[in-house]
Symmetry: C2
Amino acid sequence: MSEPTELRDPPQASRRRKPAAKPKGRVTMTDIARAAGCSQATVSFVLNNSPGIRLSQQTRERVIEAARALGYSPPVFSALRPAITPFEGLDGVIGFVVDQLATSPEAVVAIEGARQASWNAGNVLLVAQTMGDAVMEPRAVQALTRRGISALIYMTIFTREIAAPDFLYSLEIPVILLNCYTADYAFPAVVPSEIAGGQSATRHLIGHGHRRIATITGEPWMQAAQDRLKGYRRALATADIPFDPELVVEGDWSASAGYAATVKLLGLKERPTAIFCQNDRTAIGCYEALKEAGLHIPQDISVVGYDDEEIARHLFPPLTTSILPHLAMGQWAIEQLETPPTPGRGRYPITKLECPLVERESVGAVSTQLR
Amino acid sequence: MSEPTELRDPPQASRRRKPAAKPKGRVTMTDIARAAGCSQATVSFVLNNSPGIRLSQQTRERVIEAARALGYSPPVFSALRPAITPFEGLDGVIGFVVDQLATSPEAVVAIEGARQASWNAGNVLLVAQTMGDAVMEPRAVQALTRRGISALIYMTIFTREIAAPDFLYSLEIPVILLNCYTADYAFPAVVPSEIAGGQSATRHLIGHGHRRIATITGEPWMQAAQDRLKGYRRALATADIPFDPELVVEGDWSASAGYAATVKLLGLKERPTAIFCQNDRTAIGCYEALKEAGLHIPQDISVVGYDDEEIARHLFPPLTTSILPHLAMGQWAIEQLETPPTPGRGRYPITKLECPLVERESVGAVSTQLR
DNA sequence: CATCCGTGCTAATAGGTATTATCACATGCG
DNA sequence: CGCATGTGATAATACCTATTAGCACGGATG
């Protein structure tokens, strides 16, 4: 039994195991054990909650403490694997993290876009919610990254600039931002072109002969509200129509605010001939107020909305509105992954996708009215 | 250098490596190597696509072939971990698989319910879609199970009996069926109580004095349509109202079918005083036809819907309808995971959750009409 | 006082994967 | 022919984690 050892001796001469400290990247159970002053086995027991093992609460806590402090994570072998391995069933999994899923349909639409785009390549999409919770968000992301995903799409339900959580920067996979962006342009990002959307909605009204066009805004601190208003002003300026502050009423995206704002607008000595409601809910309230005032849409007054919510097509008359391009945004995000294999993480411009106007029957020519 | 060896000798005496065949459950790289006629190292190189390693295409293929044949999957340490570990970031991850996410809001609502219930325990929900695709479904499920989830919720968008995919049976984690069930009752399952829902909707109309109550069904092959109709008949029977086949018109869940069916009902020599539309879309068409006929809701005729879609509250008048309990179903599913730790996979009864009626303004007393 | 446990942990080891240092073997070259 | 050289694998080993078999020790017991 001793001869075989000899056989391997010459190669062993060149071996130099563990030259000194081993500042390896990963934190191992042994590290935790050292920090907690116990054995690796104990660490294993604690972290796995192994049944039938009795440990003092004290020790458990010390281990967990140390594990947290050192940032232990269990080994995952596939973390860095490319999206498509030659191995069926190990295909790429793309993580999709969103703050809220249920509050509005946009998230689902974006996911659907991403799914469609992923489908061809055989990639699977895993969706996690963070609820904007500072505790749960890292957990949700870790639940994905630890399990080995090949890319991460990070979406917010409201369009806005975000301070990207630190962990986004330390991921070693491509990250795409959807409906949000960071100030440092560190990630590819895509958002709706709200300015262009507000502009084309307004231009649509101008094209129908309207000159006195009111708008009911959303909550002014929201990016979308600011941009849609900006687009409104831009369209007016382009058509050489002077901006009249009286025609801008602040709403809060709600139907009741839309109602109130419309009542206010109708009280003006010179009434608008068209109202650009900056979202569809506002338009619902607006419809209500107009009907109460005995005005007919679109004969007496025209209305456009924004967002193309399900209800827009069921209003009477069906509402002309702008489609949020979340489907396209989801597709775009996946396409980004397919084209360049993460080109040295430089600065990425923010991509904006158009909000196409869908014409229904709430806009009429101004001809029938006094011009 | 030789003394230390001595130090370890006594324990070594007790070593008996690989006593014989080791039919362990998992397929290891060594198994693949044996099958492919190469070394474990080569297998590792191939499966990891290690850069800087040159291997013949032939060998690569042989390895992949063998790996597929044996059903290799990379090691995952957390696969059997309990839902709640003491370790932040290692918390339980619950998989939620649904065939379709975007087509209707129910899936999102159920996910929301599951999320709420998971949240307290700090569990993360990962959602995957299958699109009912026989190829993608296993992949989607594997994307979850391979990565170590502590439970799986399997949902279908339509309530129905399913032939559970084989892989559901071979999972070693709890599986809950949501909005579907298997004939063998192998998994805990929860569905809406559509019969009770149809019954209480009808009873609601009866309670308002209606005796001549029509119903417009959904597509008759769907379980939900059959059950809602069953509930309708049961309510009539309970109130000793004879069932009149003339008052049952087949629809297909669509508004246009609702419109056509209503027209047909209005053509009856003895008109119904109330219509139970078996979903809200049908009710939309129904409203349309009634208004065209000059009838007022609820003065002249009452209408109830089903599903409580968003639009129901925006109709005029707002529609009385039944709420699908998907939120509760999602919560229920999670609660099942928390209570019994998989009690020996026996036969589970199908749990049915109530569809509560939400009363709005589309139902009136029959008093004003000829009785 | 010796014994006998339960308790709380650890040593040792089994069983996996990743990686490094070679190695056998054609193949071309002088 | 003798030798470098590139190619396609492998052996041996480094490093992980999980698990089994005890070990030390304090307190109850006889």
